[in-house]
């Protein structure tokens, strides 16, 4: 069961790689967060821990509902061209993604996580989600992708934390959720401001400061 969820998590990440438009990217993020919720919820059910239940509720509240809703709202408000502006086209990106996943697997095995059990698969998925998030940030033009890319990386880190050390201490976990939410909102505000001042949100055209 957990294996299937890990697979779905990775598949939803690949879905974001081939997305060409902003709404598709946000939808992909919503799916990914939902599978993250399922993974945490099953872990909570198995270990019967109240704290993990709370964390999974937090995921559904913050990452599945609030952040995507807020991002959708910003997209509607700024009303610009919804294309992501790909530096690397989606076919090539899709071809690169398995390479990231393979090296994540190699890294996970070499670091000695779980010795071939489900844990090492989980760590490999986590690393590939992190690296794909970073790849998306650098290979897309629109400022939105940077915001979503950071959120994807954060999801990967969360998966990594819950698969290697059973998550962070509860209090720190909640604080990090709060922090992620605030950072998404603040980045959204800055996307809004960039659009107002520059009348576009292409980060490759932000080149006033040099040297």
């Amino acid at each position: 069961m957990q294996g299937i969820i890990l697979f779905l998590l990775l598949a939803s990440t690949y879905l974001m790689i081939i997305a060409k438009r902003v709404p598709a990217l946000i939808r992909g993020f919503r799916y990914q967060s939902f599978f993250l919720f399922l993974a945490t919820f099953i872990a909570a059910f198995k270990e019967n821990q109240v704290e993990l239940y709370v964390v999974s509720v937090m995921i559904i509240l913050v990452k599945v509902i609030l952040i995507p809703y807020f991002l959708d709202l910003t997209v509607k408000k700024i009303n610009v061209d919804e294309n992501l502006g790909l530096f690397v086209n989606s076919q090539l990106s899709l071809a690169l993604a398995p390479v990231f996943t393979y090296y994540s697997w190699v890294l996970s095995v070499n670091l000695g996580f779980g010795q071939g059990t489900l844990q090492s698969a989980a760590v490999a998925v986590a690393f590939s989600v992190i690296s794909i998030g970073a790849f998306l940030m650098v290979s897309r033009m629109k400022a939105f992708t940077q915001v979503v890319g950071i959120l994807i990386m954060e999801n990967g880190i969360f998966l990594f934390a819950s698969s290697v050390s059973g998550g962070m201490p509860f209090f720190a976990e909640i604080a990090i959720f709060f922090d992620v939410f605030i950072s998404a909102v603040i980045m959204g505000i800055f996307v809004f401001r960039i659009n107002k001042l520059f009348t576009h949100i292409d980060v490759n055209k932000l080149s006033r400061l040099k040297g």
Binding site: I130, I157, F160, S165, F171, A175, I176, D179, L209, G211
Partner: protein
């Protein structure tokens, strides 16, 4: 508990910024509040030196000498910035650059920013440390983009994105540290005070990988080259008092985070690894910053690159690891904070008088702004490590330690880059400060509260240079205690 005063006053002032609409009055209250914080932090420093460590709130707050040093540095710069803000903000309102409402917003963000920086050295939990550092980024992004011009919003965007990605790697490193802790069969915890005593039993290979992530992550925030690219933009576009806070203390809070993890690594017996990494990044920072300083045209960017240089020196100091070098690095953190704040305040005055950043079109500062000009010229000599001032003492301590350790190449590289930077500074400041005034410029008055801020910092710059000659044994004792936790 004195620590609650330090954390509480900025929060109270942040709330007060909502209600008190007269910015001049509020500026004075703000300044008084930070004076109290400064007194409290001196008290905490004394207590930490005499008792070793202080815990509170069920181990949530943990202070030792290392955190006390950083709290002291933050409160000194915050007090000076609060003092300088009074005149700076009133002037901006008078010239219709910002509105009254925006001034209230400024004080709200200023206080929240200081609060989040005070949280960094106070918390015990390494996860909360991460949250506090991310909070400093999020709040100060608004202060960088405060004037809402194209340049400042671009700088704020770069700042928030690059630092958030960097810090995501630091979170990964933090998780690896907690993994190393949990596989050694100990109970789940991220408290530094729990991890430190058992550092020697943790898995060294995992700690090494984790430290790389932490160094790259928090190093981005600290402005270590080559992860420094956000720094010159953010520092040059922020408002002058905030530039001082960013460069003087925000970078240091990230250095503090690196040190917290570094101490665990050193305790586990990997001193050489820590030394190599810190010195590598330190030397790269010195090299890159000296290159950019040579070709710089913008006054505030020049100062920002100089911050990268000094962070490099601090990294080398901690990397060398002998008590002399660590004492030098601690002293350098303080000296750089006060000197660079003075320089950024001066740059703020110059920019608001001349209305431009470009050093080629700024001439005759000594004639236009005599007080700022003279103090900034002295500050320039202090910043580049000229003898009577305090930065000279800390730099010579680090270089002596490098020679004593036999690392001649590092000492040579440091001296070489420092002399290049010294030459570049003399060249640019000589051109800017002397010569005739540009047409249409007249000698302008300077506000009193700004002058007080300059004098306060200048006394610290000169004073420490003199005092340290007699007190260096105490400093070495503190440095020795630091790495023991």
């Amino acid at each position: 508990m004195v620590m609650f005063i330090i954390l509480g006053i900025p929060l109270l002032l942040a709330a007060g910024a909502f209600f008190i609409k007269r910015e001049r009055l509020f500026g004075m209250i703000n300044c008084f509040g930070y004076f109290l914080v400064l007194c409290a932090s001196i008290f905490i420093f004394k207590e930490a030196v005499s008792t070793g460590n202080i815990k509170a709130l069920a181990n949530f707050i943990y202070l030792d000498i290392l955190s006390a040093v950083f709290i002291l540095v933050i409160s000194v710069v915050a007090f000076a910035a609060a003092l300088y803000s009074i005149a700076y903000i009133s002037k901006d309102i008078k010239e219709n650059i910002i509105s009254r409402r925006k001034a209230g917003f400024y004080y709200l963000l200023f206080n929240l920013f200081c609060f989040s920086m005070f949280c960094v050295p106070a918390v015990n939990n390494l996860g909360m440390l991460w949250v506090a550092i991310e909070m400093t980024t999020l709040i100060s992004a608004f202060l960088v983009g405060f004037y809402n011009s194209k340049e400042s919003v671009e700088a704020a965007w770069k700042y928030i994105i690059i630092c958030s990605v960097g810090i995501a790697f630091a979170l990964l490193g933090t998780i690896l540290f907690s993994y190393a802790f949990s596989i050694s069969g100990l109970s789940k915890s991220l408290n530094w005070s729990d991890m430190m005593p058992v550092a020697h039993v943790l898995d060294k290979n995992i700690l090494k990988i984790a430290f790389i992530f932490v160094l790259v992550g928090y190093g981005t925030k600290a402005g270590l080259a080559p992860m420094h690219t956000w720094l010159p933009d953010a520092h040059s576009q922020a408002i002058a008092p905030i530039s001082a806070l960013l460069s003087g203390v925000l970078l240091k809070t990230a250095v503090y985070a690196i040190l917290r993890f570094g101490i665990i690594l050193i305790k586990s017996g990997e001193m050489a690894y820590f030394t190599h990494l810190m010195i590598l990044f330190g030397v790269i920072s010195l090299a890159i910053s000296s290159g950019f300083i040579l070709i710089q045209k913008d006054l505030k960017r020049l100062l920002a690159y100089s911050s990268i240089e000094h962070i490099g020196i601090i990294a080398i100091g901690f990397g060398l690891g002998s008590p002399l070098a660590i004492g030098g690095a601690i002293l350098h953190i303080f000296n750089h904070a006060v000197t660079k704040s003075l320089m950024f305040f001066g740059a703020g005055n110059i920019v608001s008088a001349y209305k431009k950043h470009n050093m080629n079109s700024i001439r005759g500062v000594i004639k236009a702004l005599p007080f700022t000009g003279i103090l900034m010229l002295l500050g320039m000599f202090a910043l580049t490590g000229f003898p009577p001032f305090s930065i000279f003492i800390s730099e010579i301590m680090i270089i002596t330690a490098a020679f004593a350790k036999g690392s001649y190449i590092i000492a040579f590289l440091m001296l070489f880059f420092l002399s290049v930077i010294f030459g570049a500074f003399i060249f640019y400041f000589g051109k800017m400060f002397f010569g005739n005034l540009p047409k249409g410029m007249e000698k302008s008055g300077e506000p009193l509260s700004g002058k007080f801020a300059f004098l306060f910092l200048f006394i610290l710059i000169c004073g420490l240079g003199a005092v340290m000659v007699f007190k260096y044994k105490d400093l070495l004792w503190i440095a020795q205690r630091l790495l023991q936790g």
